[in-house]
């Protein structure tokens, strides 16, 4: 027997968490609602998480809500471990009908009740962080610690941030006001009520590399603003979002709401559903992370309100530095982490052909290249450490791209396979570095997703900045870094950031990597260039997920 929990209890239980998150989005200072240290979860948590993950393998994964005929098992671990988790194939009509029906009760609930239920689900997801880490690792190829942190607490923080923004935005308008306009002989007195209503059904389309981190903001922002959510996972990364939906459904049920408010839409390679769902009139919102091609199609063709994070070409401009070794080590880690499969990983490193100034001395272009390659070689020298940095390659397409690039001119560091000490079948590849000239735009002026870095030889720093700006404007960019000790170059780099509408990092030589994005403080994607039209998370990401319906009643 299960005992229903009054939904208001969740709201009370998590009020402090919500208040602190709301304060954090205003102050932008460090805050985290969920610990990133594995030790914080207790001694038994790792073993329990492993057991929970392993119990999922080779079995059907059944959730509440309607499903069609048959099962789909499309995931393949980049580490070579058999998964064979079978998910019911979605029936689109039934899924949409169930979501519409479930939304009525949910939309009628007070804002604080919806927020409380969402926060309770999030806290329960947090308790599953070790299980989630295995699920993320074996679907995306992330190394375990990255999968734990990025797939667990960091993703949960992004969800908490979205909830905080949603509550903030919905709380801007009072529920009721007595409006009095001075008039003769009597003032005009109107009672006005304002009701937040959801837009409709949200379709969240997940990606193959960061299925939770990228999907949670949209899922939770839509839920708290009263919408239903259909989660369409990437066929390669279903399990992390299936576990997520399962936990949210359990929480909804316990709070007395219809669990079909949040459902999973799994498809088959023969009949992909993302386009079909996206064109249905019942879909009012779409959250999308993935390739530029489909993201742009959604932006152009979907009738729903579309929030995208697509791909881009991230640039590094090296002009001068006071800490050459620190710069190279920092870049080496940025380029190597998760084999360049982060949307924030730099791709093009622009270096003047006459070299750079380092601590007052000129360093030749070739020596900068040698230094960067040396830093990567040093970082990845020990194979057991290297695999924990590199992770595994998520998709066959990335593997093919790397192999193709290995055969091209200018490669000064070939990508080679590394044997994983625990997973002999793992698809591990080291970073590839190629030197190209600024004139070779067709080589570097497009996204080369994966462990591929181009060091672009430019005429001077001005050309470096011009090319980086053009790449951000035409191809999109999510991150940018400049290394300079010259204030006038820094000012030009700020112009690059503003014109390219890309967030800028300056002289990173320590542990902070340009790849990293901290919830509550860093805006992930600006929404201002082709890399995406939304930002995680700002008010614009949540404010249009609901509308305000007003009722005016004259009073005596």
């Amino acid at each position: 027997m299960t005992t229903a929990t009054a939904p208001t209890d969740f709201s009370t239980r998590h009020r402090e968490l919500l208040d602190r998150a709301r304060e954090a989005i205003r102050s932008r200072t460090f805050y985290s609602g969920f610990p990133e240290s594995a030790r914080a979860y207790g001694e038994s948590a790792p073993a329990e998480g492993t057991a929970a993950f392993e119990a999922r393998l080779g079995k059907p994964f059944v959730l509440a809500g309607p499903s069609g005929d048959g099962f789909s098992a499309t995931e393949r671990s980049p580490y070579g471990r058999p998964l064979d988790v079978q998910y019911p194939v979605a029936d689109v009509d039934a899924l949409l009908a169930a979501a519409s029906a479930a939304m009525h009760g949910w939309a009628a609930a007070p804002i604080d009740v919806r927020a409380g239920v969402a926060l309770e689900a999030l806290v329960r997801i947090n308790a599953h962080s070790f299980e989630m880490a295995h699920a993320v690792m074996h679907t995306t190829g992330q190394a375990f610690m990255m999968a734990f942190q990025a797939g667990g607490p960091h993703a949960q923080d992004r969800a908490l941030e979205a909830i905080a923004y949603a509550v903030d935005e919905m709380s801007r308008v009072p529920e009721r006001v007595l409006w009095e306009k001075p008039a003769k002989p009597e003032p005009l007195r109107i009672e006005k009520t304002y009701r937040v209503v959801p837009r409709g059904i949200d379709l969240t389309i997940g990606c193959s590399t960061f299925p939770t981190w990228n999907a949670y903001p949209g899922i939770f922002a839509s839920l708290v603003t009263g919408n239903a959510v259909i989660v369409k996972p990437h066929p390669q990364a279903v399990l992390p979002l299936a576990i997520t939906v399962e936990i949210i459904q359990q929480t909804l049920r316990e709070a007395g709401f219809d669990p079909a408010l949040v459902t999973l839409a799994v498809d088959t390679p023969e009949r992909p559903l993302a386009k079909i769902l996206a064109q249905r009139p019942e879909i009012a919102l779409i959250d999308y992370t993935g390739s530029s091609g489909f993201g742009s199609w959604l932006e152009d063709h979907a009738a729903a309100l579309v929030f995208t994070e697509k791909a881009g070409v991230n640039s590094v401009v090296i002009d001068s530095t006071d800490d050459q070794a620190g710069m190279l080590r920092n870049l080496a880690m940025s380029l190597s982490l998760y084999s360049g499969q982060m949307c924030t990983t730099p791709q093009n490193v622009f270096v003047p052909r006459e070299g750079i100034m380092a601590s007052g001395e000129r360093v030749a272009f070739d020596d900068v290249v040698t230094g960067l390659v040396g830093a990567i070689d040093g970082l990845l020298g020990a194979p057991e450490r290297a695999v924990e940095i590199l992770g595994a390659i998520a998709t066959d397409a990335t593997l093919a791209r790397v192999d193709g690039e290995n055969a091209k001119a200018g490669v000064v560091r070939r990508s080679v396979a590394l044997e994983h000490p625990k997973f002999p079948q793992a698809r591990v590849r080291t970073p590839l570095v190629a030197v190209v000239d600024a004139a070779d735009a067709e080589r570097f002026d497009h996204e080369a997703f994966g462990p591929i870095t181009y060091i672009v030889r430019t005429a001077d720093t001005n050309e470096s900045l011009r090319l980086a700006t053009a790449a951000a404007q035409r191809r999109g960019a999510i991150t940018a870094i400049v290394y300079t000790t010259d204030p006038s170059v820094l000012a030009k780099a700020q112009t690059w950031a503003q014109d390219g509408k890309v967030n800028l990092a300056v002289n990173l030589t320590g542990p902070l990597l340009v790849n990293q994005s901290a919830a509550f403080s860093d805006f992930h994607v600006t929404g201002g260039n082709p890399a995406g039209n939304a930002s995680l998370t700002d008010a614009a990401f949540v404010a249009n997920r609901f509308r305000i319906i007003e009722t005016r009643t004259p009073v005596a």
């Binding site: 050459q324 030749a364 040093g378 000064v412």
Partner: protein
């Protein structure tokens, strides 16, 4: 103009052994390769089988690769040597790869090198005199010429 002698230089092998030329060319003869950019790596690798066979068959010949970088790059010494130690795991490769931080323009002038993109290959006597010089990737003709110079 081709130089008669290999320039004086000071460097450090990847295994940490200091190298001071010309004194450390002795004893015997040295096949010295000079690389100024990583783009020469393929050319270096192309000579590998020939040189491996040569040094195994002749105890009076050794091979060294001089990775020549600018003096300004010395601030990256730890990064570069650390990277090379990771990339070169065989002790004989670590011992025979020497990193030199120097005035590259002056070094090239002294050696008579005009093309820094191309690998330089030199047969150096133990007193530093250059007995033979070639450049670029290994070819059968280049190998035969070097073999002839050694005999």
């Amino acid at each position: 103009m081709d130089a008669a002698c290999f320039p004086n230089l000071t460097g450090e092998a990847v295994d940490g052994t200091p190298f001071v030329g010309p004194a450390d060319f002795a004893p015997g003869r040295t096949i010295a390769m000079t690389a100024f950019a990583l783009e020469s790596r393929a050319e270096v690798e192309s000579w590998g089988p020939y040189i491996d066979a040569l040094v195994r068959s002749r105890s009076d010949v050794r091979a060294r690769l001089f990775a020549v970088l600018g003096a300004g790059a010395k601030m990256m010494r730890g990064v570069i040597l650390g990277g090379l130690r990771s990339a070169l795991t065989a002790p004989e490769l670590r011992a025979s790869t020497v990193v030199v931080f120097t005035d590259v323009d002056a070094f090239c002038r002294a050696l008579g090198v005009t093309d820094r993109k191309t690998l330089g290959v030199f047969l150096v006597e133990e007193d530093g005199r250059i007995a033979w010089r070639g450049s670029g990737a290994y070819t059968a003709a280049a190998g035969a010429a070097l073999t002839a110079a050694l005999s």
